[in-house]
């Protein structure tokens, strides 16, 4: 076993006892990264920065001043602006962009002593569920059980693959409709989307601002608690970031959920759901019951309208957010012909810089916000969103502490398998995850088992707003009961 396979918690202890130095740990990770180009997880490697940060971490450890992530090597999703390091949201339109500033999330991680190994692959502007919309080409899932190369999920596919393949100890992800939880489930790792407003969005390249939230992707629930602690909390630079105290998430992991009420929503039992996912869900329910929780059937009647509402709201916000990519201030500008005016410049730049799925969503968003359709689509979707949130509020008011659902409708599918599919079919991947973003709730994906082929499957727990502490404790119980220890066989 090499040090790159450690969890954050184990590495933290080894570093504090000086059994390993941050430089040694970082060098081990960098070697693993360099040996894994076949996965296409890292798209900009930053070994010089990593070693410099590791040396600084060793100095702090030696001085006895070691914050929570001191010397812990992490991967950073390409969506986070990192000062002086390419940050292009996997889009050609941001080619060459090197921010002059640091996102709040990465700044907090660095303050906590973390080491950045590099930037991680993702779907372009976080729009996708398979990493196939990336300008760098898709990430390959380290889980390989036959000849098929599978998706690591999306949009945080590079983060998921890097954590699952031990190319870092943990990684940042972002989640707008399931982009942390679906890739976590596809790769057998833990991923938590916090309550909207728990983590600052400042310096994270925006997709849909009312839904976007950053979170940890880790090898264990304890690691998720440690990581979330480091990035959560108020930030004056993001007016939607809540000024609320951040509890001690790791201390909340008591493993005791006796008397807690777990809701099982009947609307999540979808037609066409695989029998394996259904059986996994039942097993997870039994695990929580055995741990002393009370299981109750609940109803979330507007569930089926979450996806269509999401695919109005998210593109609408995206069309507005992505208007800034105009070839003037940063990134790509198309070569112009004599006589081309400024509108030609905008149109050519955006046609060349944006990939197909991003163009599609920007145009859908433009349409639903245009005069004459605003009420019929955008306002109606916002009303349905209010009803989806109300469904959850009523269930929580009845005393439900957490909700258990599948994380994804299937295990990881093959790269290219959805190429000829209608875009709407790809959207169905988010069916279990997207409701939470619309309601602003925290949700965590926990690996629970393998399917018949040997691919990982996950379950999702949904928590009350701002109760990540309780949610993580439920996830911890599920993790311990499931005892998921499988790792992908190294083929890369």
């Amino acid at each position: 076993m090499t040090a790159n396979t450690l969890t954050i918690a184990a590495a933290r202890d080894a570093l504090k006892k000086r059994e390993i130095t941050a430089v040694e740990l970082t060098e081990t990770c960098l070697a693993a990264v360099d040996a894994a180009d076949a996965l296409n997880a890292y798209v900009h490697k930053t070994p010089e920065i990593a070693l410099e940060q590791a040396r600084a971490a060793d100095a702090r450890l030696a001085a006895g001043d070691a914050p929570s992530l001191c010397g812990i090597p992490l991967g950073i999703k390409d969506l986070f602006c990192t000062k002086g390091v390419p940050s292009q949201a996997a889009s050609n339109i941001l080619k060459g962009f090197r921010p002059e500033y640091e996102s709040t999330v990465t700044a907090k991680l660095f303050d906590a002593g973390a080491v950045m190994l590099g930037k991680l692959n993702m779907d372009e502007f976080a729009m996708g569920s398979s990493n196939e919309t990336s300008c760098y080409g898709p990430t390959v899932n380290p889980w390989k059980v036959d000849e098929v190369k599978r998706t690591a999920g999306g949009s945080s596919g590079g983060s998921a693959a890097a954590v699952a393949a031990d190319l870092c100890l943990a990684a940042t992800g972002t989640d707008t409709g399931g982009s942390i939880r679906q890739p976590a489930a596809f790769t057998g790792i833990v991923g938590i989307k916090p309550t909207y407003g728990r983590v600052s969005r400042w310096g994270t390249i925006a997709y849909a601002s009312s839904l976007d939230q950053a979170g940890p992707m880790t090898k264990s629930v304890r690691d998720a608690a440690i990581f979330l602690q480091a990035i959560a909390g108020h930030d004056a630079k993001d007016s939607t970031c809540a000024d609320l105290p951040v509890p001690d998430f790791e201390a909340a992991l008591t493993g005791d959920i006796r008397g807690k009420k777990i809701g099982i929503p009947r609307e999540y039992r979808m037609d066409g759901m695989s029998a394996e996912i259904d059986a996994l869900w039942t097993r997870g329910t039994e695990m929580l019951r055995d741990a002393g929780a009370e299981i109750v059937d609940i109803s979330l009647p507007h569930t089926k309208y979450a996806l269509p509402a999401y695919y109005v709201i998210a593109p609408a916000e995206a069309s507005s957010n992505l208007a800034r990519y105009d070839g003037v201030r940063y990134g790509h500008r198309a070569a112009l012909e004599a006589g081309d005016g400024i509108v030609d410049m905008y149109e050519k730049t955006r046609a060349e810089g944006f990939g197909k799925e991003v163009q599609r969503r920007v145009m859908v968003g433009t349409y639903v916000l245009s005069a004459g359709f605003y009420d019929a689509y955008y306002n109606r979707a916002r009303k349905v969103r209010a009803l989806i949130k109300r469904d959850f509020e009523m269930v929580f008011a009845e005393g439900v502490d957490a909700i258990l659902t599948p994380a994804t409708p299937t295990a990881a599918f093959g790269l290219g398998a959805m190429v000829s599919a209608d875009p709407v079919e790809m959207y169905l991947n988010d069916v279990f995850t997207v409701t939470l973003n619309l309601a602003g709730l925290p949700g965590v994906s926990v690996p629970v088992g393998l399917d018949a082929k040997g691919l990982p499957l996950g379950l999702q727990l949904i928590g009350r707003p701002w109760d990540e502490a309780g949610l993580l404790n439920h996830a911890y119980v599920l993790e311990r009961a499931a005892g998921f220890v499988a790792k992908p066989n190294k083929w890369w």
């Binding site: 002059e100 145009m363 349409y367 916002r382 709407v424």
Partner: protein, 95 residues
């Protein structure tokens, strides 16, 4: 609601994305499919429901209306595809 080629052309222009004439029929088809997926929302009774404006009930914080940073024109221009004499340069906009 089905999107015709003329509407697709208009939407592409509003979005400031150049779409080749030959690609417009396919685009119109894709947009129509996505919109028909959204039509499910018409089944929901939204009578008397307020459109959501903020997912977490919170008052946006206000800060004092004062200058907190500045004097960084060089940093702001650093990533520009074309910057000259302290300005972003673009094709002429006067018709």
């Amino acid at each position: 609601m089905s999107i015709d080629i003329e509407t697709a052309r208009k939407v592409a222009h509003l979005a400031r994305i150049r779409v080749d004439e030959s690609d417009l029929p396919a685009l119109a088809g894709e947009l129509s499919n996505i919109l028909s997926f959204m039509e499910q929302l018409n089944e929901v009774d939204v009578e008397g429901v307020e459109p959501m404006t903020s997912v977490t009930p919170m008052r946006l914080k206000r800060r004092a209306d004062v200058v907190t940073d500045g004097d960084m024109a060089d940093k702001i221009l650093k990533n520009a595809p074309d910057a000259r004499e302290g300005f972003f340069a673009v094709p002429k906009v006067v018709e």
